[in-house]
Amino acid sequence: MTAPLVLSNEMIERYSRQILLPGIGGAGQKKLLRSRVLVVGVGGLGAPAALYLAAAGVGTLGLMDADEVDLSNLQRQVLHFTPDVGRPKVESAAEKLRELNPDVQVVTYPDRLRPDNAAGILEGYDFVLDGTDSFASKFLIADACHFGGKPYCHAGILRFEGQALTVFPGETACYRCVFHEPPPVGAVPTCSEAGVLGAVAGLLGVIQAAEALKALIGAGDLLTNRLLVCDVLRMGFRTVRVRRNPRCPLCGPEPTITHLDTAEAGRPNGAACAVGAAKRDVHGLA
């Protein structure tokens, strides 16, 4: 067991505006300081999310990203500054977050999430934020969180629009309940063709951070079983009710995805992050 955590005077002052909030208080703040959140992808979603998580005093923040900062990232990935171009994103992000809040232990993974490393990395965390771009990653996060029993918040952004969904595996509708499987390879144009407004990325990233904080302290209603859809051009928000899908290949009663396929880890597109082996006994392994 960890030693009892005592809030220092400095901590009480730093977090005073949220300690004041009903549902948080000193006990909630201590919970946050003991919590561990993994942010996969320190880009348009992950950067703003990580800023708010660090500022709020989430005790351990894992940052995972294999990329280096590119000039074209700066329009939306607000943790990275102009002099950071060319540096590893996790390094650039960790530096800012440590300066923002020395209470936070920042752990960096300059790597991609893969079927063969996902379980080991996820194990040490309480909540996962999906800040990734590709479908391969998004489906892998959904699958790995399912098998690891880790709650996560998905977000997607495109142009002026965004969506978010929080999932408690085995309890609430999962990403695959809604989207089943990645679209056919080759059918998908790249992000650079479609574009996104930086503020939309920020908006959704901050929604993910809020979901993580609420989940960690157990406050309020999460975006579970409802997908938030927003259109910033029209500035409208809706939630679409989603429910656990009895035919979900991952969390349904007869799953066809029963484990992460580590044998496929070396494949370049990583799409085959999970395999169809229809073994019911393996379901719910985690």
Binding site: L45, G131, D133, F135
Partner: protein, 98 residues
């Protein structure tokens, strides 16, 4: 018949299938869309057979990527293209959904 599409009530011809609806709504990349009919997600293979009925509520849910570039895999990002609803339709839908 009247059906509700993404919160907006529209008049559509009888006998329309989900696939027909995707086409009439000019969804350019149906492979990027999940369709929810009356709170139940349909499989893509059902789009062609499933006929719509008066009062049905249909949601097109678009796959979206768009966070960090190339964090894992190289499938590219998530893009779903479609005709955007008119502003008035969207705002009417807001009123309907809250």
């Amino acid at each position: 018949m009247q059906i509700q599409i993404n919160g907006i009530v529209k008049e559509k011809p009888d006998g329309l299938t989900v696939q027909d609806l995707l086409e009439s709504e000019e969804v350019e990349r149906p492979e990027m869309v999940s369709v929810e009919l009356n709170d139940h997600i349909l499989f893509r293979i059902e789009f062609r057979e499933r006929k719509l009925q008066e009062g049905d509520r249909v949601e097109f849910i678009y796959l979206m990527g768009g966070g960090a570039d190339r964090t894992a895999g190289d499938l590219g990002s998530a893009v779903a293209l479609r005709r955007r609803p008119e502003s008035k339709e969207w705002h009417d839908a807001e009123e309907a959904s809250f």
